[in-house]
Symmetry: C2
Subunit: 300 residues, 2 copies
């Protein structure tokens, strides 16, 4: 089954202790698509400026990522600049130039409206709602959000939360959104707000899946060297949603596998800057690492 993603396509300038890139390909929709494209067809809704280097997304088009919903507007592309210290869990935003993204008003080509899997990346909840209302109700709606929307637009956020199936969120955001210091009781409170399933990202500590009283805990991959954590969350979402749409089923067993595929793709993402590592993975690369994940937690 194919997937629709609504999010950002951006140019990132990132500095970590291991190097530096300027105006490198980034954005939530981009990372998501790259990861999901290893499992399924992906359709993108996003906006870029006239300066966008379209040749940089050629590799995605070759992997059947459809950009019919990518609109070019007068002005510059969304740019973000950030810096990471040795503790790659902490980042400093150097600048955020929304540019054409500031007026982003997602338009859905008609042939996008029946796509069964919808991923609403981290954008203004009013836009997430608008997209959802333009669609024929997808089979599965997954969304991401962030502290910014939790703090600034709680009413809008609450409206969208009521309408979605799965929330992908990080652990500190669970605590903030639920106003509960305990991750597990916090997750239960969020389930009462709408999403029946939570995929909670914990960075170097892996991920936690919550469905009813059912927990699944997955580790992060033990990497000797991370170069750049940018995009890891969206890449996780891409592997997670991509796998679910491929198998077209979200039983507990498939949700668990989807978490491991998400973690697998995220672990590749952080090994190099920008989308470098996500460009040329083989099916074998992915399967091998997936198996390593399984081996790491096996206890029998």
């Amino acid at each position: 089954m194919s997937v629709l993603v609504v999010g950002s396509v951006a140019l990132d300038s990132v500095e970590t202790p291991f190097g530096k890139v300027d105006d490198a390909l980034g954005g939530s929709a981009t990372y998501f698509s790259a990861a999901a494209s290893y499992f399924t067809d992906v359709n993108v809704v996003a906006v870029v400026g006239q300066d966008f280097p379209h040749d940089q997304i050629e590799f995605l088009k070759k992997r059947h990522v459809n950009f019919d919903g990518l609109v070019t507007r007068p002005g510059k592309t969304f740019r973000w600049g950030g810096k990471y210290d040795f503790d790659l869990n902490q980042r400093e935003t150097l600048f955020t130039h929304l540019n054409v993204f500031e007026e982003f008003d997602p338009e859905l080509p008609d042939h996008y409206k029946n796509i069964p899997y919808l991923f609403l990346a981290n954008i203004h909840p009013d836009l997430q709602l608008k997209v959802l209302q333009k669609m024929n109700r997808p089979k599965l709606v997954i969304m991401d959000t962030m502290n910014f929307w939790i703090e600034r637009t709680p009413d809008s956020l609450n409206k969208v939360l009521k309408l979605i199936d799965i929330l992908i969120i990080n652990d500190s955001e669970v605590r903030e959104l639920s106003e509960d210091p305990n991750l597990f009781t916090g997750a239960k409170k969020i389930q009462l707000m709408g999403p029946k399933i939570l995929a909670i990202k914990k960075g170097e500590h892996g991920a936690l899946l919550v469905e009813d009283g059912n927990y699944f805990v997955a580790p992060a991959f033990p990497l000797d060297r991370l170069q750049d954590p940018t995009g890891a969350g969206d890449t996780f979402a891409g592997g997670f949603v991509g796998y679910l749409s491929k198998v077209d089923d979200y039983s507990q067993s498939n949700l668990r596998k989807a978490v491991i595929y998400g973690s697998t793709l995220a672990s590749f993402c952080v090994e190099k800057f920008s989308l470098e590592k996500l460009k040329n993975l083989s099916e074998k690369d992915i399967e091998n690492r997936y198996q390593q994940f399984i081996e790491m937690t096996r206890c029998d």
Copy 2:
């Protein structure tokens, strides 16, 4: 096979958002023994003052914990006071009165010298070394340490590390001891210092076992409510070492099970203050929770 533990028996005064206890039973050897006693015979080497309320360890004696190596000295028992805020990962030490523990010079009853499993709890590395030298080389030597010794007595610590098999240590201490911000390369550096196996405690994020290039990642138990995290690390060690000595084998498969048993016992420990919860567990309580751990990470 029986286990020998050398560590502290103390009286703790602890305050958390969920309550408060004064002069409650505590100490590394105590928590360790309580947990290990569910798997095997335990023998304690420690010191207390004349004020120690011996009736408080009656429940351990009834479970075949041998206190022939518990010496009473003139003076007061080691006392520690601490306070936890809602973030139970962070604690503030209010006071540390070493009292008789300051002059602790571990004495080994003769019938302790051939015990095959030795746990050196977190005490001065010179004392750990002394105990090890007094023993006929045990089959397996496991030790704990802390930032205090890493910073203050690195030479002594390095001497003991050369002689042990398994180091139980927390993640921030791995980074400090190895001087490496990456947990995995840090662990490899520590393996070069002596211990072939590391059991790394990550608090609410579970535990990581490292043996050669082999990683095993275990979650922490999802608890809705923790009352008091004091002693969780020593309780983990008790379950871990207790299980290994019970099966008398430390293959990768048994090491993994030992990590889960350690995590299981630690998860009970933090549910109540002091050793309250560890007093009356049944075999069924432990097996049920062990199975819940296994279910939480199963992906097939």
